[in-house]
């Protein structure tokens, strides 16, 4: 029997499943986060998206001692954990329906909107919180908001955003924003437009470092053609689209995490590319350039630790 409410909810024992038009989401209570994001039958996540704080140190960062000052964020990048999960169904908060409370549901549960938020405790001293809120709307579109809670005892951040690791290599991406690699203090030369990029190019700096940021982007469409599903031999390209919420976002689409880049001293030290790492950023630190042995990034392009950062964006299949 058809239901007028578009989202079907599966109140599981370990997860919350949400089925919408041509899409399916699984939120995992114990792992903390969005474990599965499927559009048109294709899985888009390798692991749960997580807040990202660290960027692979640039030569300028190293020169002015920024990594030493910010090193807590490297720990936070690796070891922050979810401490709290909150759920709203049709914009009404409900207690997390863990067993046996979920016995009251059936196989026919529907809703207009589901919102689930995960609050991370950063492994910093002192600790602070990051809340990531996922809202599945009736269209099946996923809205994501990330909120960093500032603390005046915490150092400047290398960056703040959400990192999505996708199971296979993208064949390329398309975006609306500025040409080339841009940073907040190096974006005047970027030309607005829509750009199609082949593969996931890594800017081959002599020592691998943060690269590939695209500031002021309106949308980003990632294209893949393979999955990890052993029964899926289809190679027809499929896409996922990130689009701006209240404000344009910054992103990078690379085959490496910040830690993989940080660990390499040469391009040839980087591992064989096998996954796609999309980072959607609400705050980007500038690259600086006065010198490479002490001069910091100009104050306007640093990310203070004591101020809240809130940004949002949408995800949908194409």
């Amino acid at each position: 029997m058809a239901n007028s409410k578009p989202l079907q909810i599966i109140y599981g024992d370990g997860t919350l499943g949400v089925t919408g038009p041509n899409c399916h989401y699984i939120f995992n209570y114990s792992r903390g986060g969005l474990e599965s994001l499927v559009y048109a039958g294709k899985e888009w996540l390798y692991r749960e998206p997580k807040p990202t704080f660290w960027r692979a140190s640039t030569d300028n960062d190293r020169g002015n001692g920024f990594p030493q000052k910010a090193s807590q964020w490297l720990g936070a990048e690796l070891f922050s954990v979810v401490k709290e999960i909150a759920l709203q169904v049709n914009q009404k908060p409900i207690s997390l329906p863990l067993a046996p409370a979920n016995n009251r549901y059936t196989a026919q549960e529907f809703a207009e909107e589901i919102q689930i938020s995960f609050t991370y405790k950063t492994s910093t001293v002192p600790t602070t919180q990051v809340t990531v809120t996922y809202t599945v709307r009736s269209t099946g579109q996923l809205h994501v908001q990330a909120h960093y809670h500032g603390n005046h005892q915490l150092p400047e951040l290398p960056r703040f955003g959400l990192e999505f690791v996708m199971p296979t290599l993208a064949t390329g991406f398309k975006y609306a924003g500025l040409s080339g690699e841009t940073y907040p203090d190096r974006m005047a030369g970027g030309v607005s437009g829509t750009y199609q990029i082949q593969g996931l190019p890594v800017t081959p700096y002599l020592v691998p470092q943060d690269n590939g940021i695209h500031m002021a982007s309106h949308w980003l469409q990632i294209s893949r053609q393979s999955t990890k599903d052993n029964s899926d031999l289809n190679r027809i390209p499929f896409q996922l689209k990130f689009s701006q919420g209240q404000k344009p976002f910054a992103f990078s689409a690379l085959p490496y995490t910040a830690l993989e880049l940080e660990n390499a001293s040469h391009q040839e030290d980087l591992p064989l590319p096998r996954r796609t790492v999309v980072t959607i950023l609400g705050a980007v630190r500038g690259v600086g350039g006065i010198d490479s042995w002490g001069a910091d990034v100009a104050p306007a392009y640093r990310i203070p630790g004591d101020q809240d950062i809130i940004f949002d964006f949408n995800i949908a299949g194409v």
Partner: protein, 636 residues
């Protein structure tokens, strides 16, 4: 002392800063000469013969292991290796690559102090000539001179040999030279054989010149630029000095041609012709050379001139043809010149052609990832094209004279050149980030002054006719003292048409009235620049190095650019730098071509990736930051 008529080589010259050239011909203008106007049009001179190519080579690990008598014609070199000239000994696989910044390359291996500083006499003696860490490249080259050159004076030109070279022809000692980045010529005529000739060269990795050549770069040695034989007709213009000077209103201009002649001048005439850029004849004259050994060959005024600039690099064409008494052509010399005026006005603003000049510049090392400082014409063409495409209007030849044809390209394309001397001695005064000049050279040391003046002279004499050169730069990071002040005096005496630049006087303000027309800094922050400009500045301000493009950088360019609109005396600068200096190698594991930097060759101590500061990657692809440079440099 510049020694002439030395018939025996002496290894002790390596230890003595007072010996830096022996029997080398005086530096002169870089003009080319041809046997006919057809040759000149085709740029193929039958007076020239390249000696580039395969040479025989022997690597001696130190001076004691040199193959003796190797310059003799009869020496058996059949077991020697083959090496490519030009080429660097490191790239040929004989010697370890080594990159280091301020520290001298022997740091951590040998203790050395420059002669006449804190070094004892004993330490200075044999410091290089008997050093176990001073390898020697021994070269031999057989050649024939063309039949047409019989009875002509023939010289050999080495355009670049690092660091110190001894030269023989057919077993006869010809001379000695330092100053790695300037051409050196030696007269072959007295010992030239009709048929087979053997040129022999011993190239030492280090000498006292090493103290003056501490540039922050990979340290190489070898014959790394062209080697050429040059014959000359019975009468020849050895040196030409063009002085195109616009009138005060920049409407008209006077060209003065000075020349130095060699040969028997009786009856010889010089036909001088000037054409505009389209080939239209503007002026012709014929001068008898009878009375002119050295002096003004011709002079004229053009009533309407077109000025040379970055926007319109307008060049006039000059041809000088020497005829003998019977009217036969002796030589044809084509040159170009442009009219432009660089000056500082009463408001202490630097002007080019009466307009405030904004330097949208870049520092450039000569670099090729597969051959180091051996670069090709294609590399240079590409570099110029990249500069033009990205609104870069100026280049500083950091930190040594470049390939001669580089300046031709800059003339033609309107790139303003800061022509820098081959001088950098930061290892003698900049220690662990602190100014500590107790063993600084050249400083105030009389024993080092002639060597640096020789470098100034080489730079000036070879390059003086290039319109694109607006500034002579005394060197880089060499502190300051009376020796560098003497270099400034030399340029001022020689050349009223250009400005002189030197940054290092920043550390010795007491020399500011004697050194540098410009207030030059490196890596000053926008705030520091404003502080200077708001406090009764005495000189126009430029940044000889700024925006350190190491890795992912060049953020905040805007903060410099807005100063251009606020302060007329802020006149821009040169980004550090143009191209990453990294070496392309085949990765041992993956087989892919990869780029390696200092420390990757077991070279220690090193400054690792610090030579990777380009707007280009080492393979000449543009870094992403280039679009920012293009944008801001295009706005001003």
């Amino acid at each position: 002392m510049s020694q002439q008529n030395q018939h025996q080589p002496n290894l002790k010259w390596l230890d003595d800063p007072q010996v830096f050239r022996v029997n080398a011909l005086p530096a002169h203008s870089d003009h080319c000469w041809y046997r006919s106007s057809q040759e000149a049009a085709a740029q193929q001179s039958s007076f020239r013969k390249s000696l580039n190519g395969h040479w025989q080579f022997n690597y001696a690990k130190d001076p004691r292991q040199i193959s003796q008598n190797f310059a003799e014609v009869t020496f058996d070199s059949s077991n020697w290796d083959d090496i490519q000239v030009p080429g660097l000994i490191e790239f040929a696989g004989y010697h370890k690559f080594h990159y280091i910044n301020t520290l001298y390359p022997w740091e951590g291996h040998h203790f050395r102090r420059p002669a006449f500083t804190t070094a004892s006499k004993q330490d200075a003696q044999g410091q290089f000539s008997q050093a176990p860490d001073n390898p020697v490249g021994q070269y031999r080259k057989h050649f024939h001179v063309p039949v047409a050159w019989q009875n002509q004076t023939v010289r050999v030109r080495f355009e670049g040999v690092q660091t110190a070279m001894y030269l023989w022809l057919n077993g006869h000692f010809l001379g000695y030279a330092e100053d790695s980045f300037s051409p050196h010529e030696f007269d072959l005529t007295p010992y030239l054989a009709k048929d087979d000739n053997v040129l022999a060269v011993a190239v030492f990795n280090a000498s006292t010149a090493s103290y003056l050549e501490d540039q922050d770069m990979f340290r190489f040695f070898g014959i790394f630029r062209d080697v050429t034989l040059l014959a000359q007709p019975q009468v020849h213009l050895e040196d030409i000095s063009l002085r195109p000077v616009p009138s005060s209103d920049l409407q008209s201009g006077t060209l003065t041609i000075q020349a130095q002649t060699v040969g028997t001048l009786a009856g010889v005439t010089a036909a001088v012709a000037v054409k505009d850029a389209t080939g239209k004849s503007l002026w012709q004259t014929v001068t008898s050379l009878d009375q002119i050994q050295s002096g003004i060959l011709a002079q004229t005024t053009f009533q309407q001139i077109r000025l040379w600039s970055n926007d319109e690099p307008y060049l006039y064409q000059l041809q000088i043809t020497l005829h003998d008494a019977t009217g036969h052509v002796l030589e044809v010399i084509p040159m170009v010149f442009g009219f432009r005026r660089i000056e500082i006005n009463s408001n202490k603003v630097m002007l080019l052609n009466g307009q405030r000049l904004i330097i949208k510049g870049v520092n450039r090392h000569e670099w090729n990832a597969t051959s180091g400082r051996v670069i090709t014409s294609a590399n240079m063409d590409q570099d110029i094209a990249i500069m033009k495409a990205n609104n870069i209007n100026a280049v500083r030849t950091s930190h040594y004279p470049n390939h001669l044809t580089w300046y031709d390209r800059c003339d033609q394309q309107g790139i303003y050149v800061m022509a820098e001397n081959n001088l950098e001695s930061h290892g003698t005064w900049q220690k662990l980030g602190v100014v500590e000049p107790s063993d600084n050279v050249p400083g105030n040391l009389s024993q080092w002054q002639a060597a640096v003046l020789d470098r100034a002279q080489n730079n000036y004499q070879w390059l003086k006719n290039h319109t694109s050169i607006l500034w002579w730069s005394l060197g880089n990071e060499s502190y300051a003292g009376t020796d560098i002040a003497a270099m400034e005096t030399y340029y001022k005496q020689q050349d009223p048409s250009r400005l002189v630049h030197y940054e290092g006087v920043f550390h010795r303000p007491e020399f500011k009235n004697r050194i540098s027309d410009l207030e030059s800094r490196m890596y000053a922050s926008p705030d520091e620049i404003e502080t200077y400009l708001q406090n009764n500045p005495s000189k126009p301000f430029i940044l000889c190095e700024y925006m350190h493009s190491m890795g992912n950088s060049v953020g905040g360019l805007q903060n410099y650019m807005i100063l251009l609109t606020k302060y007329p005396m802020f006149q821009g600068g040169f980004i550090w730098d143009f191209i990453d200096q990294a070496i392309a190698v085949k990765d041992e594991i993956s087989g892919q071509t990869v780029f390696r930097y200092g420390g990757d060759f077991d070279d220690r101590p090193s400054d690792y990736a610090f030579s990777g500061d380009g707007l280009l990657f080492a393979d000449r692809t543009e870094k992403p930051a280039m679009q920012e440079v293009r944008y801001y440099y295009g706005k001003f």
